[in-house]
């Protein structure tokens, strides 16, 4: 399988650092990081990642809004939403946003990502 190119979007630097180290150790290629919705959309256009790991609570945009924009117009970018909150807090918003799925931050791992993408 080709190495998936990942863009990490989260406003907490410590999480971005830890997530990068974790994903890279599990064979993902982290091509970039963004700390808010605006820079996430810009970097997605620039870097054309395969996967965007997207935090739900961003300082400027709602994560679902960003997910919808990233996946509109037939875009092939896969979006996986994540949050330190439980997925059940968001109900149908995850599926309605165009994202592939949701992972709780504490449970982030290569295997969890693979499971969501399949």
């Amino acid at each position: 399988m080709d190495t998936l190119r990942v863009l990490i979007v989260d406003d907490h630097p410590s999480f971005r650092t830890t997530a990068r180290a974790l994903l890279q150790s599990e064979g993902y290629d982290v091509v970039g990081e963004a700390e808010n919705g605006v820079s996430a959309l810009r970097k997605a256009r620039e870097l054309e990642p395969d996967l965007v790991l997207l935090d739900v609570q961003l300082p400027d945009f709602d994560g679902f809004e960003v997910a919808a924009r990233l996946t509109q117009n037939g875009s092939r970018i896969a979006v996986v939403l994540c949050s330190s909150r439980d997925g059940s807090d968001f109900g149908p918003l995850v599926s309605q946003s165009g994202a592939r799925g949701f992972i709780a931050k504490a449970e982030l791992s290569g295997a969890a990502l693979k499971a969501v993408l399949e």
Partner: protein, 683 residues
């Protein structure tokens, strides 16, 4: 006629027969017809008067004495007897009637003897008139009577002895007459007009009789013939005394006829004063006072409704109660000499009118009480018809939608805005139809100020009574209270949201990172222990920061030091964490927990604001307890210009303080600094 009257009548008839028989069979009576006629005139005058007086309980004693005068008058007939012994007895007892006469005179009109002088005079009269003639017969024959029988009581035929007795008789008699006149004059001078009307005829005729008696006594010592002539005058004068008394009774009877006039007058009397004047005229007593009995209040009131001091007014007077339907309705306080039977007749005739006026007085007193109660009620009150016409009102002119003069007779639709008038009339109709209290509120602009009123409408037969209360202030307070509650709830919600955000953004993120780092370190442990160690060190720092953030959060929810060690210690901690010098003065003794919490948050918020906006160099915090209140002051030397209306922080503090019935004041002059002062009751 009562039994005593019949007894007197019977005795009088018997004595009359005896007297007539003795006179007409007398050898020494030259004018028997004249003598019988004159004796009968005098005797029956007194007997008749006595019998009439005996029928009246108030005059019974006087009646007995008058009857005694009349009956004893026939004793003089014993002197007509041809029997020497009977003749002698007659010579002794002839003066007894005069003693009874003086007694009756001094007893009139009260029926009893009053003073020692009066008692003495009466006793002396009885003594003189019983003993005097007896002594006289001891010493002398009857000079003027040649055919008279022998004086069987003669002891010593002594002219000088008889003269001495006669002189003594005269002297003592004059003394008794003088004393009697003195008593009567004093009685006259002390008498009220009604009493004088009663006394006058009797005194005048008695005075004449006494005068003639004295003249006869004086002249008798010199000339028996002149004395005999004067004696006839004396008889006429004496006989007129009972007629004078009877005249008084007739006047009373005539006065009773005025009772009919009284009833007519009372029917037209406008008020209590008119009634009292009519009663005064009917009884001939200008000093009469009238009082009405109020059974509910258990007191007497006068004709004008003022309290009547019965004890003070009845001193020296007689009080006669007037009853109607078995209940006392009024009292007449009158001169004691007014004929009691006349008073009773007047009272009976006036009973209905007085009962009616008593009812009016009772209603007036109630009205007065209710009016006082109504005036004490601060609300506006209106009486209105169903169609909205104002009939009456009570209240201040400033609270009315129109001037007081224009209000009565005008209609609500002319004065009030259409919507208010409609609602008012609906309320009136509902109250009148259902009989239940209808309430509603409305707004009116009076003197350019919009006020809120609450109206309560009750039915009063086919009209409505409205009690209107200005609830503008009350509504303002309620709105303020409601708004303050909303703000407090919102502040609580906001604090919870902030807490969640702080937890999410702070400690929660760190713990998530920590979790990932530990997992990564675990995966690296075998292959890259150095990397694993690095990851573990980083995780340890992350954990320490997470713990610190959680501590901060806990402090923000509620500082433990405040509960455990009190406000003073908590303030020292706050001051220690502040970014500028804070001088704290606070009492060491504890305040109630809610007050300490409110004071802590006021100071905490104030310090936070000072740190953000004030650009101050120093802060003073003072907490003191004074007169049952906690006084909290935070002063800084910053730029000032803080406006509580513009910031929700200060508004929230004010709500918290006001929830404890406290006050929050902010003084913030631009360029001078800011002072926040909270006063919170400590209870």
């Amino acid at each position: 006629m009562n039994r005593t009257g019949w007894a007197v009548l019977g005795g009088a008839i018997v004595l009359t027969a005896i007297g007539v028989a003795l006179t007409f069979t007398s050898n020494h009576e030259n004018t028997p017809v004249f003598t019988v006629a004159s004796n009968l005139m005098v005797a029956w005058s007194f007997i008749g008067c006595g019998i009439v007086a005996l029928q009246r309980r108030s005059d019974a004693h006087f009646g007995l004495l008058m009857s005694a005068v009349g009956l004893s008058w026939f004793l003089s007939s014993l002197g007509e007897s041809n029997n020497a012994y009977v003749f002698s007895i007659g010579s002794v007892l002839w003066a007894v009637p005069l003693a009874f006469f003086i007694h009756a005179l001094l007893v009139f009109p009260r029926g009893y003897l009053e003073t020692r002088l009066v008692y003495g005079t009466v006793a002396a009269a009885y003594g003189l008139l019983a003993i005097g003639p007896l002594l006289f017969t001891f010493f002398g024959e009857n000079e003027g009577c040649t055919d008279c029988p022998e004086n069987k009581l003669l002891l010593v035929d002594s002219q000088s002895g008889a003269n001495i007795v006669g002189l003594t008789f005269i002297v003592v008699g004059v003394g008794i007459c003088a004393s009697t006149v003195w008593v009567l004059v004093r009685r006259w001078r002390a008498a009220s007009p009604p009493l004088r009307r009663v006394l006058a005829p009797v005194f005048v005729t008695s005075g004449i009789a006494i005068g003639v008696f004295l003249a006869a006594a004086f002249v008798g010592a010199v000339s028996a013939r002149v004395s005999n002539v004067l004696f006839w005058f004396l008889l006429v004068a004496v006989a007129s005394v009972p007629l004078a008394f009877l005249w008084g009774l007739v006047r009373t009877r005539l006065a009773r006829a005025s009772v009919t006039e009284l009833v007519l007058e009372l029917g037209q009397a406008r008020d209590g004063n008119s009634t009292r004047e009519a009663l005064r005229r009917a009884l001939g007593d200008p000093s009469l006072q009238l009082a009405y009995w109020l059974p509910d209040r258990r007191r007497w009131v006068g004709p004008t409704g003022w309290d009547f001091d019965m004890e003070a007014e009845s001193a020296g007077h007689r009080t006669t109660h007037v009853e109607h339907d078995g209940e006392i309705v009024a009292a007449l306080v009158h001169d004691p000499s007014v004929d009691p039977e006349l008073v009773s007749a007047v009272g009976a005739a006036a009973g209905l009118a007085l009962a009616r006026e008593q009812s009016i007085q009772t209603v007036r007193q109630s009205e007065g009480r209710y009016r006082a109660l109504l005036n004490a009620i601060p609300d506006l009150m209106f009486r209105m018809t169903r169609d909205g016409t104002y009939l009456d009102f009570k209240g201040e002119a400033a609270d009315l939608a129109s001037s007081p003069e224009e209000l009565i007779g005008s209609n609500a639709r002319d004065i009030l805005p259409a919507d208010v008038a409609d609602r008012l009339l609906e309320g009136i109709a509902q109250a009148i139809d259902t009989g239940e209290v209808t309430t509603g509120d409305y707004e009116l602009t009076l003197n350019e100020v919009t006020r809120t009123f609450e109206a309560r409408i009750v039915r009063d037969e086919d009209e409505a009574v409205l009690i209107v209360r200005d609830i503008t202030e009350q509504k303002r307070h309620e709105d303020e209270l409601r708004n303050s509650r909303v703000r407090l709830v919102r502040a609580g919600d906001e604090a919870r949201r902030k807490l969640e955000r702080n937890l999410h953004d702070g400690a929660q993120q760190r713990l998530v990172s920590l979790s990932l780092a530990l997992r990564l370190a675990h995966s690296r442990l075998k292959d890259d222990p150095a990397e694993a160690e690095r990851l573990l060190n980083s995780a340890s720092e992350e954990l320490a920061q997470a713990l610190e953030e959680l501590r901060e959060l806990a402090r923000g929810i509620h500082p433990a030091v405040l509960s455990e060690r009190g406000l003073s210690a908590a303030l020292e901690t706050l001051a220690g964490r502040a970014s500028l010098p804070v001088e704290v003065t606070a009492p060491d003794d504890r305040l109630p927990p809610a007050v300490e919490a409110a004071a802590y948050y006021v100071i905490s918020e104030a310090l936070a604001n000072i740190g953000k906006y004030a650009q101050a160099s120093a802060v003073e915090v003072n907490v003191a307890r004074l007169n049952g209140r906690a006084i909290v002051e935070v002063s800084d030397d910053g730029v000032g210009g803080a406006d509580p209306a513009k910031g929700s922080g200060l508004r929230g503090l004010a709500d918290r303080v006001e929830a404890l019935d406290g006050t929050l004041a902010v003084e913030s002059q631009p360029g001078v600094g800011t002072r926040i002062r909270a006063e919170i009751p400590c209870g």
